[in-house]
Symmetry: C2
Subunit: 354 residues, 2 copies
C-alpha cells in the first residue's frame, strides 16, 4: 500500500459510525496488512511511496482492472474476507493470463466503512497476496479509503515478450476447436444459486479456515460449490503456458454463451458448443439442481465467474489441461453467434446495466 | 474499457431501483464512453479485450492506484461528473509524476448504481481522458460494475529510464530546500470548507461547462476555490521534468504537515516550514476564512488534495516552477517531524481510519 491514501477529508455526507476515532488509523491497518506481502526480485520499490516500481521482463505491459463490491458482487455473510481477496486476485490474474502473459504485479484499492475490523483488511490481504504469489505475482502497492460498503479494486500487470503477439479474442478461425481449461463447468454458478436461495452462511470462527454452512441441502459436498463461487481457483498457468499457442483466448467470467459470443464476434465465427462434451458437467450438478428447482444446463452454459481459460486451437492441437467443448465455424446469415449442437440456446449471460 | 466487466450476477442483497431493465446495458454505456478515448502510439491494444497492451519506453514500470467514493470523497451536488473524472486522473497521474516518471497509461474501474444516467459515465470519461491526455497518457482499459454509490478507481502507469533512479520520499538531506510546485497553497482546502459549510451547488445545465453556484458568500471569485477542490489542476510535468533532480519528492495530497511529515520521516530529517514563504497564500484566503469562521493557516498547512509536487532540492538548486517553502535539517530529539519557523504546529492532516 502506498502511504498516501485517498486524500479527501469527508464531505458532510460522510457519517460513519466511528468516523471520529478508531483504534488503529491507516498506519495501524497497514501494519496489519503489509507483513503479508512478499515482493519478488523484480520489485524495485514496493508499498510505501507515491508509486511502486517493478522491473518487467519486457516493456510490453499487459494491464487489466476489476472490482468487487459488497452487496453487489458478494454478501458478507456468505463469504469470507480471505476469499474476497482471493477472488479479487483471480479475476484480474485471469485477464492477464488470457492474453498469454504471466501476471507479475498487482495493486489494490480497498475502500471500507470506518468501523470495519482490522482483521477484515488483514484477511483480505492474505487471500489476495497468497493467490497472487501462487501465480508468481507480487502485491506492490495500493490505496486505503472509506466507503459505505467494502469495495476492492485490483489492477493486475504482466508483460509480453518482444516476439510474442498478445492472444486476443479475435484470432479464432473456422475449424478451430473451442476448449476450456477446467475439468468441470457450472460449479461457481451452482454455488451462487445456493447463495441466492438463502442456503448459505460462512462461519469465520477461524479466519484462516472459513467454513461454509448449508441449510436445507441434502448433499453436504455442495459446500464445495459455494467455495468455488466465493474463491474460484482456476489453473491460470494454462494462459501463459500452453494457451500462448491458442488462436484466441479469454477468461470465462460471464458464462460460456456470453463469453463464447464475445470470442465468436471478435473472431467473426460461429461458436457451436458440444452437448456431449458438457453433459458430464451438467449431470454432476443434476441432483442439486433438482433440489433447487433449477436446470443444471443453465449453470453450465450461462454460469460465470469460473475464470478458467477459454481458448480456440487448431484442430488436433488442443494441449493438455484444456478440454474440447465445441467448434468454431464460418458464420451463417441470421444465426446466433453461439449454438449448442447447431441449435440456438435460450437464456443469456449477465449484463450489469441491462 | 475491457468488454468483460465485473462478472458476478447480483446476490440477493442487490436491489437497485432499475436492476431489472435499463435503456442501455453495458454495451450502450461503452458506446457512449469509448469514443472519448484516444490512444497514443504506444498503445498496442486498447479497450475491448481481457487486458490492454502498452509498449512502455522502458521495462521499469511505475504504478499507483487511488479511489474516489461518492459520499466520502465527493458529494454529487457539489461537483460534476466531468470534474470527478478529472480529479481521479490527477490524483493518480500525480503519484506517478512524483516518482520522476511520466505517466503513460491509465485504467479505470467504474462502479455505479443501475439507474445512473449514461451521461454521467460519458462526462466522467471525458474528464478523465482529457486530463490524462494533457499529460500524454492514454486511458487503455477498465471495468464497469454496480455499486450503491459512484466509485471510481484509477490506476496510473508510467516508466523510468534504465539509468534513472526513482525519486522517492527518502532522499531528502539536511540543508535541502523544501519546495512546492504550485503558486499558492490552501485553495483546495478553502473550496472544501465552502462545500462542508453547505454553500456550494454545482449546476450541470451544460455538462461540458459545470458552474459553481455559491450561497451566502460575499466574494464571487470564491467559486474558483471550489473548482480547485473539485478538479485540481497542478503542473505535473514538474515531476518528470525539473523534479527528476530532486533529492526527494511526493505529491501533496493530505496536507503540508502530514505529507511533509512523511517525507521527513522517510528521509530522517526535520522539515521546518517557513511562515514568511507561506504568508501570501494565507493572506489571499483571509477574508473568506473570516467569513467562514476559519483560520486560513489551517487551509495552507493542513489542506490536502492539491496534488502539486512537493520536493527537496539541494540549496541553490530549486528549479523554475518550484517555490521554496521550508528547509530540511538534522532531527533533534523529541521534536515533531514538521515545524513552522522552528515551532510545533497544532492540528493534523487527514486519516481515513483514525
Amino acid at each position: 500500500m502506498t502511504g498516501d491514501t485517498a486524500p479527501a477529508p469527508p464531505p458532510s455526507g460522510d457519517a460513519g459510525p466511528t468516523g471520529e476515532a478508531g483504534p488503529t488509523g491507516e498506519a495501524g491497518l497497514l501494519a496489519r496488512m503489509l507483513p503479508h506481502l512478499r515482493s519478488g526480485a523484480e520489485v524495485e520499490l514496493g508499498p510505501g511511496d507515491d508509486a511502486a516500481v517493478v522491473r518487467l521482463p519486457s516493456p510490453r505491459l499487459v494491464v487489466t482492472t476489476d472490482t468487487l463490491v459488497e452487496g453487489h458482487d458478494f454478501l458478507p455473510h456468505t463469504t469470507a474476507a480471505r476469499w474476497i481477496g482471493h477472488k479479487a486476485a483471480v479475476q484480474n490474474l485471469a485477464d492477464v493470463a488470457a492474453m498469454g502473459a504471466r501476471p507479475l504485479a498487482l495493486v489494490v484499492a480497498l475502500s471500507a466503512p470506518a468501523d470495519t475490523p482490522a482483521a477484515v483488511f488483514e484477511e483480505l490481504t492474505i487471500g489476495l497476496a497468497a493467490r497472487a504469489e501462487a501465480d508468481g505475482a507480487s502485491v506492490v502497492g495500493g490505496d486505503l479509503g472509506r466507503a459505505d460498503g467494502l469495495t476492492v479494486t485490483v489492477t493486475a500487470m504482466g508483460s509480453l515478450e518482444e516476439d510474442r503477439p498478445a492472444v486476443t479474442r479475435a484470432g479464432g478461425r473456422p475449424g478451430d476447436v473451442l476448449a476450456i481449461g477446467a475439468p468441470r463447468l457450472g460449479r461457481s454458478a451452482a454455488g451462487l444459486a445456493l447463495v441466492l436461495a438463502g442456503r448459505v452462511r460462512v462461519e469465520k470462527i477461524d479466519p484462516a479456515a472459513p467454513r461454509v454452512v448449508l441449510s436445507g441441502v441434502a448433499d453436504p459436498s455442495a459446500a464445495e460449490l459455494v467455495r468455488r463461487h466465493d474463491a474460484p481457483d482456476p489453473d491460470l498457468a494454462l494462459g501463459w503456458g500452453a494457451g500462448r499457442d491458442a488462436h484466441a483466448m479469454m477468461d470465462l467470467s460471464d458464462g460460456l454463451v456470453r463469453d463464447g459470443g464475445r470470442l465468436g464476434a471478435a473472431s467473426h465465427v460461429t461458436v457451436d458448443l458440444d452437448r456431449a462434451a458438457l453433459r458430464p458437467d451438467a449431470e454432476l450438478l443434476a441432483d442439486l439442481a433438482a433440489e433447487l428447482g433449477a436446470d443444471p444446463w443453465d449453470w453450465v452454459l450461462h454460469g460465470g465467474e469460473e475464470h478458467a481459460m477459454l481458448a480456440a486451437f487448431a484442430p488436433g492441437e488442443v494441449p493438455d489441461g484444456f478440454r474440447p467443448i465445441g467448434l468454431l465455424r464460418a458464420p451463417a446469415a441470421s444465426e446466433p453467434t453461439v449454438l449448442l449442437d447447431g441449435a440456438p440456446i435460450p437464456g443469456e449471460g449477465w449484463d450489469h446495466f441491462a
